[in-house]
Every structure is written in structure tokens, then in C-alpha cells.
Symmetry: C2
Subunit: 351 residues, 2 copies
């Protein structure tokens, strides 16, 4: 008998990772004391004593890519995990694991990029850690950013609006909050980050002008919350839109119907996906979110999103419904098919 | 000209790391908005909107060692960074970077150990992340734990007691809070964690019974705060007691006089240090803290510490004074010498 080992697929953000996490992590990390939203919810952030709290480690390669680098990605990614819970990001941490021999110039470039992203976002980096390991014990540089955020009056207003229309389970933008009728909004084109990375890596023999979409989304989210009526939000990282939709359908116990033709896609992503045989709906993004909005507010939220730079290409792509089970994609050619969660990640090491 | 690269010494927790951090990190990460205690303070945790927030990545090897493993170390270490600020630890995160091919059995052992440490400490693990990288891109397993904590009435009481005796700069247990006259207390024997690790690694050709001291200190800290009069606390990780004392002297701009004979040391650590030519005061610990206490309360705080399992061997080792500059060690043989900060870490990868 060969002992089971951890494989790349176990960490790819798809079904296999969820199974590993449920069976090996959640089974052990049962809540030690009740918290508002804990690990068992597997949401974008936890809520403890009213504080939103999230963590992500970044192992992206290459470290520098069109539209960003590991530093901007790490700061934006953690801000986004707070923002899509409805929290106002307060502060981010920065813990670096550096391989001995890593160039000080590249180290400086990454730090400058983190600093710029933090400054532009108005979210300070307040605490950190540095570990250096022997050559070969890590690959260049890994960064962990964790973050904390708080509840705002804006979020209270958002839920006050939503509750004029129906009951809401959690008063944060959780995966379990959807109900039949809710509109599904994607805040822009999907697949850009993953395609920018894979096209930039060596050996793929093609070039595109696709840039990573890595960007903090908290300002855009604030504008949407000011309109009100959001019940759920999720950033479309590993596993892409296909994964996010399936998580929502499962956690909210509601069907989702999505119109393929309504999903925003850039021409570069479409071309690259055709060439590589990839599904853009399974590809990770770092500056896009999926929103669930009570139907009466959907158009107003959409307009507010479209008025922001990050949400200019936002679109309503479908709705929650009791008429289907799981996620059903109405295809461009007129039929419909189940949109299954990706089993692994088609492009490894994108974040 | 050869481009400068990051070296192991840059991450060793000593003077060289402090220089790198000051020059390359702090220079860039100037605070984006004012926070109570921010990165520029380089303290054990930041304080933002009344929330204590800290992060640490663990790259210890081997993963399993006498008295603990990377999992128990990570949970205890982050709890301690919160506890030594005077905060009550509320929650911890867990972000893992796993090398492809890592044994699922060892993965499970680490998770079980984290869960047990969390449960015993009463501090839940509420959010997490998992990344798997290709074989050779990381060494087995790295863990980042970040943590959040809050202010308690106990901490307010502690400072009310301290302020009966003198002015206090920060109302958290910061490195900059010491003043001449304050007593220095070490909460137990020093050097155990580093010696347990090095003696367990292959090729050193000796064995000891020294166990890692890795343990959460928040319960012990709570008992000390209930007495009151603490102004500063610091856990004695990388760089050990020598580093902590020098940081305090510099940040509080006060001299420190330490009696070598008063520093608690286990016989195993003394023997191992003699054999290896190491200074136990420079060796990292994972379950010991240095406390600064207003003089009138020192004996009472000491008694309270000694009544706890973690603090049973606590001792007053010296005091802050304007009569010396920097840190001066009164040696066992009767002389005195400057105790300098370690330039690097005598034992790499201990946390």
C-alpha cells in the first residue's frame, strides 16, 4: 500500500481541495467557542466579535507579470476578501518567506508594489514577519497577507434595503445568503488574471495583450453598498466563476441559472482559451467579484457598479431560482447544460 | 559589481534583519493612515481601532521535535504575540503552503496538533488558506498564523495600577514603555526551544532531554495583569533574551542592568550550550516572556506568575536604570560587560 500524499490538485481550489479541507481540516478545527462566522462556513473571511478576519498565502509565479506582481496581488487579494464580506478593510499584514539568494532588487520591487497598492487603497500594512530559508527550501518568495475589517453604517444601510424585500440569513455578504429570485452580477470580464499569467510563462509560444485584473475592490463595493440590496459577494479567484457559482448554489441551497452570452469576456481571453482548450469560467481572477442582489435593486446596483473604474463592465448574468438544481448554463447556441465545479485548477500557481 | 542578494542572516532576527527591515521595509511602508500602534513600532502586534493584530510564518525544521511540532508552535506563537501586547487572543488564522508529495499522515498530525493547541487555549482557528506547490518549490510545509485580540478590563486595571506609580506612554505592553526603576522579569528558563531543536537534528552527535517550551502564555499573562503594574512584555523568540533586552533598551531609551546569575537556565541547556559554544541568551524560546513591571508591583507579579504552570520558574533578573547605557550584564564571576544584540541567529529555522 502506498501512503497517500498531498498532490497539486489538492491545493487547486476546486472540488478536490474542498474535499480535503472538509475531511482533514474542518473535521479537526471544530469551533472552540462560538463565533459569528467561523471556519466551518468556508467563506471569504471570518467574523469574530464584529471584526472581519481573513488570510491568504501567495505562491504565484512568475513573481512579476503583466498588470501586477506578487506584492500588488497579495495586498489587493486580502483587501478583496474583506470587501466581499461587506467589511471596510482596516489593515493588512505582510509575512514573507524568502529563499536565500533572492535578489535584493526584486525584493525591493515587490515591497514598493505592496506599498503603492496599500497607499492607493488607503489600507495600511501594520504588522509583518520575515523568514529566510536555505537555497532550494522555497522558490524565491512567498507572501502571506492577512487582513482585518469592520462593519460600517453603509453595510447596515445595505441590509436595511435588502430586508425591505425579503428575510436575510446573515447580515454580512455570505455565500449562504442567496434566495430564489436574486440577481447575479459579475463586476467585469472574467479570466484575465489567469490568462495574463499563463501567456507570460515560458514555453507557451503565444503572446496576448491580456493584463492581470489584480485590483482592490473595496471602493467599488462601497458604492454598491450605498445603493443597497446586496446579500452575497465573492471574489472570483481560484476556480473562477464556475467554482463561485457552485459554492453559492450549494451553501444557499438554491439553483442558479446563468446566461453564457451575458458573461463579460475580453477578446484576448476568448482567443487564448480557444487556443489552449481552457474554459474561461474556470480561470481565476484577482479583481472581479460575483454579487447576489435582491431583484428589485439589481438594476440600480448595476448602474452604481458601472460608474466605477473597476466595475465599468459589470453585467447581470443570471439569477437564483428554484426551477433548476445546481448551476445551469444557458449556452450561446441556445441549449442548456449543468455548469460543474472545476475539479482542479487549469492554471496552477496563479495566486 | 555583484548584485546584493538576501542571505540567511537577513532573516535571522538579529541586528542584520532589523537593518534590512528598517531600510527596505519601513522606509516604504510608511503609515497610510494613523493607527494606534503601527508597523513602525516593530512591536509584537499592531493595534488598529482597538484590535490587536499580528502575523508569523513558520518554517521550522524538522516539523516534529521534542515537545512540539510546527502546528503547536504556530498556534502558540501567534497567541503569544497577542498576549504580550496585553490583548486577549480572540482568533487565529491558518494558511498552509504544502510541497507536493508531502505525506497526508504528517499533514494530519500537524492539523491535529494545531486543533489541540487551539482547543486547550480556548482560541479558535477561524479562517484559513491552502496552497500546494510543486516538488522542490517548498520544503514540506510552511504555516502562517495570524491572530486578532482585544482589550480587556483586566488590561485597563493593569495600567490603572501602573499609573498609580508613574506615567505610562502606551496603554498596551509595548517595547517603548519602560522607565528607570522598572523590574525585569523572565517567566522561566531560557534557551530550551532552540536547544531541543538543534539537539534533535541529525549530525550533531549528542542527545539531551531538553524539550521545546512551546506553549501559549495568555493564561499566565492574564494572571499577571490581574495583579497589575506591568508596562511591557515580549516573547523571547528569535534572538532570545539578548535581542529582547536590546530592543527594549533602544526603544525605551533606558539602560538595562541584568544579573546573569538570576537568569533561569535548565541544566540541559547549560550543558548543550557549553558543548556547542552557544550563548543561551541568544537562543530562541517559544513559551517564555520578558516582562517590565513598575518596581512596587514586581514581587506581587512574580508571585502570581510562579503560581501558574508556565511561569513556575519566573525570576526577577534585573532592572531598567539611567546608570548604564544599553544592556549591561553583571556576570556570574563578578564583573560586568555589555550584552550586545545577536547579529544573526545561532540556530536557523527554529520557528
Amino acid at each position: 500500500m502506498v501512503a497517500r500524499t498531498i498532490t497539486l490538485a489538492d491545493g487547486a481550489g476546486g472540488e478536490r481541495m474542498h474535499e480535503l479541507v472538509r475531511k482533514h481540516v474542518l473535521a479537526r478545527f471544530s469551533e472552540v467557542r462560538p463565533v459569528e462566522i467561523g471556519l466551518n462556513r468556508l467563506d471569504d473571511a471570518a467574523i469574530v466579535d464584529g471584526v472581519a478576519f481573513t488570510t491568504d498565502s501567495y505562491t504565484v509565479r512568475p513573481l512579476f507579470f503583466p498588470g501586477g506582481d506578487i506584492g500588488s496581488l497579495a495586498v489587493a487579494g486580502t483587501i478583496n476578501d474583506l470587501a466581499v464580506m461587506g467589511a471596510e478593510p482596516l489593515a493588512v499584514s505582510c509575512a514573507m518567506i524568502v529563499e536565500e539568494g533572492f535578489s535584493l532588487e526584486d525584493f525591493d520591487r515587490v515591497l514598493a508594489s505592496m506599498a503603492e497598492t496599500s497607499r492607493k487603497a488607503g489600507v495600511p500594512i501594520v504588522t509583518g514577519d520575515l523568514k529566510v530559508v536555505e537555497r532550494g527550501a522555497a522558490q524565491q518568495l512567498f507572501i502571506n497577507t492577512s487582513g482585518i475589517g469592520r462593519r460600517t453604517r453603509r453595510l447596515d444601510h445595505n441590509f436595511a434595503v435588502a430586508r425591505r424585500h425579503r428575510q436575510v440569513r446573515d447580515l454580512w455578504l455570505t455565500d449562504g445568503n442567496l434566495a430564489a429570485g436574486d440577481a447575479l452580477i459579475v463586476t467585469g470580464t472574467v479570466g484575465d488574471h489567469g490568462i495574463a499569467l499563463i501567456s507570460f510563462r515560458e514555453g507557451y509560444g503565444f503572446e496576448t495583450s491580456v493584463q492581470s485584473d489584480a485590483a482592490p475592490l473595496h471602493t467599488m463595493m462601497a458604492k454598491a453598498l450605498e445603493v443597497g440590496g446586496l446579500v452575497a459577494a465573492k471574489d472570483l479567484t481560484r476556480g473562477g466563476l464556475a467554482n463561485a457559482l457552485n459554492e453559492w448554489s450549494e451553501k444557499s441551497a438554491v439553483g442558479l441559472r446563468v446566461r453564457e452570452s451575458a458573461i463579460p469576456l475580453s477578446q484576448g481571453v476568448v482567443s487564448a482559451c480557444e487556443m489552449l482548450g481552457l474554459d474561461p469560467l474556470e480561470i481565476g481572477n484577482e479583481g472581479k467579484a460575483l454579487l447576489g442582489v435582491v431583484p428589485a435593486m439589481a438594476e440600480k446596483v448595476l448602474s452604481a457598479l458601472q460608474a466605477t473604474p473597476e466595475g465599468a463592465k459589470a453585467a447581470i448574468i443570471g439569477e437564483a431560482t428554484d426551477e433548476v438544481r445546481g448551476v445551469v448554463l444557458e449556452t450561446v447556441v441556445g441549449g442548456s447544460r449543468p455548469l460543474l465545479p472545476p475539479s482542479g485548477d487549469p492554471i496552477p500557481r496563479i495566486c
